[in-house]
């Protein structure tokens, strides 16, 4: 049995990694080498040249820095807003709760593409075009995150909340001191997914940002696709480098899943 589980796990990992591996290989070849048949399967020796070219063509270091700090600010604020809202929806019976849940679900259901024009009009009317806040603030209430946290809090034992309140702690205090530490695995997941959604966000920053010094990674990489020339090596290298911060966030916060095993002790 264990052998099969192992085989399954290993095969899954291989399938997951191969395309990613090829992306790294592609980042170390020149664009024209990528077009040979069969395509190269071993790393080449153009990595440094591609890095220099990428920095030259889209100022990649600065673009990465912009992406990192905007995504961090977004993640901290959005995770907080989502966790609070999810908790409120799951654990309190207040007037309008049903409507709010419906609205949260509705914003998740409405195709983003159809909101682009009116949202853009709003941003333009308040003069937010080509600003950082335009790519951070409108989407802070991340309905996906709210829904994730609501589902997580649904199972949270009420007795623990009550005992916290009996100790005289206020609602917010109970939330920060007792509740949040207990849902660390889900919080970890929330942080990972919130960061990911902002990091990979493309169409909205593309519409909002006009100055090259404010571009985020996906917007900058978009410039490597031209009319009669596509810089595939640069694209692959940029895409690979762009996954590194994501992987870092994942590695940092996936520990929380493991910690979650111990956190599970709160459940009776």
């Amino acid at each position: 049995m264990r052998v099969f589980v192992w085989l399954f796990a290993a095969l899954g990992a291989l399938v997951s990694v191969v395309p990613f591996y090829w992306m790294i290989v592609a980042a170390t070849h020149s664009s024209s080498e990528l077009f040979s048949s069969p395509p190269p399967f071993l790393p080449g020796d153009d990595l440094w040249r591609n890095i220099v070219a990428l920095e030259e063509s889209v100022r990649f270091a600065r673009v990465m820095a912009t992406s990192v700090w905007t995504a961090l600010v977004y993640t901290v604020l959005s995770a907080l807003v989502s966790a609070m809202c999810g908790y409120g929806l799951a654990k309190y019976r207040f007037r309008g709760r049903g409507v709010l849940l419906a609205v949260v679900l509705a914003t998740m259901m409405v195709p983003f593409q159809v909101l682009l024009v009116p949202l853009f009009q709003m941003m333009a009317s308040v003069g937010w075009v080509d600003t950082y806040q335009s790519i951070i603030i409108p989407f802070l209430a991340n309905s996906f995150g709210i829904f994730l946290m609501r589902q997580a809090f649904l199972d949270f034992p009420d007795e623990l909340l009550e005992s916290g309140r009996l100790d005289g702690a206020g609602d917010l205090r109970v939330f920060y001191r007792i509740v949040l530490p207990c849902v660390r695995p889900q919080l970890g997941a929330l942080v990972i997914f919130t960061f990911m959604s902002q990091w990979n966000s493309f169409i909205w920053p593309l519409l909002m940002l006009n100055s090259e010094e404010r571009y985020t990674v996906p917007v900058a990489l978009n410039h490597l696709i031209g009319v009669s020339h596509v810089d595939y090596a640069g694209l692959m290298l940029g895409a690979f480098l762009a996954t590194l911060p994501l992987m870092l966030v994942f590695l940092l916060f996936q520990r929380q899943f493991v910690a979650g095993l111990l956190g599970g002790a709160v459940k009776g």
């Binding site: 889900q186 940029g238 996936q254």
Partner: protein, 277 residues
Amino acid sequence: MTSYGLRRRLAGWVFAGPATALLALFFAYPLGASLLQSLEGGFGNYARLAGDPSFLQSLVNAALILVVQVPIMIGLATVLAYTLNQSWLRFRATLRVAYFLPAVTTLVAYAVVFRVLLRTEGGAVNQVLGVEIDWLNDPAWARVALIASLTWRWAGYNAVILLAGLQAIGREQYEAAAIDGAGSLTTFRRVILPQLRPVVLFCSITSTIGTLQLFDEPLVLTGGGPGDATLTPILYLYQVGFKRFEFGYAAAIAWAVVALIGALSWVQFRYFGKERS
């Protein structure tokens, strides 16, 4: 009880307040505007949907993905998550990272890599399988390619969410099951799955929404083709709005999709989510 109850209500709004304010500020107008736009000239846009073969085909395609791809992906993700949660399995951290890789791959890279892998002549997939399939130009195979590449990209992501849910289940429950002499399959079915229900519900609802809003992958992989074989409702919406500039009709497509997602989610809530709150 009343004063305490009132306090709890207010506290509820304290927690939900910031998100509510943000949603009201930034989404009330766009949502309303798009709804109004879809109603320009009465219900004509909605009536037109019913007789639009491309839209209907896109719904059929979405249904196909919903019925075939989502169950495969969620099933695979559940098994992966369960596997990753086994304490005896070594290199778990490494495997976790490996499964998560596809989800963090940037879209452009995803597109290029799959185009290269799926090339008819000299493509790695055809070479491994020993066939000469024209993956992206044959209607049936283009769908298979789309389903496979979607599963590749998102199964690990769902596994991570499910893993978080799994790990919230106390160790004692596994141990209790083990003491009762249950095998790992029985434990999985009797103990784990019921506990996972809210998370599975979350995954299947978000996957349903993800399917009906599917856009990125068909756009970069097949462009909806050949013909309308891999056209999705939102890809069609995009073509109608941004290529044909029929914004009212595009908005009608959007709201028709919302209605569909709403109905499907409601059904899922009914059948999956006997919630205890």
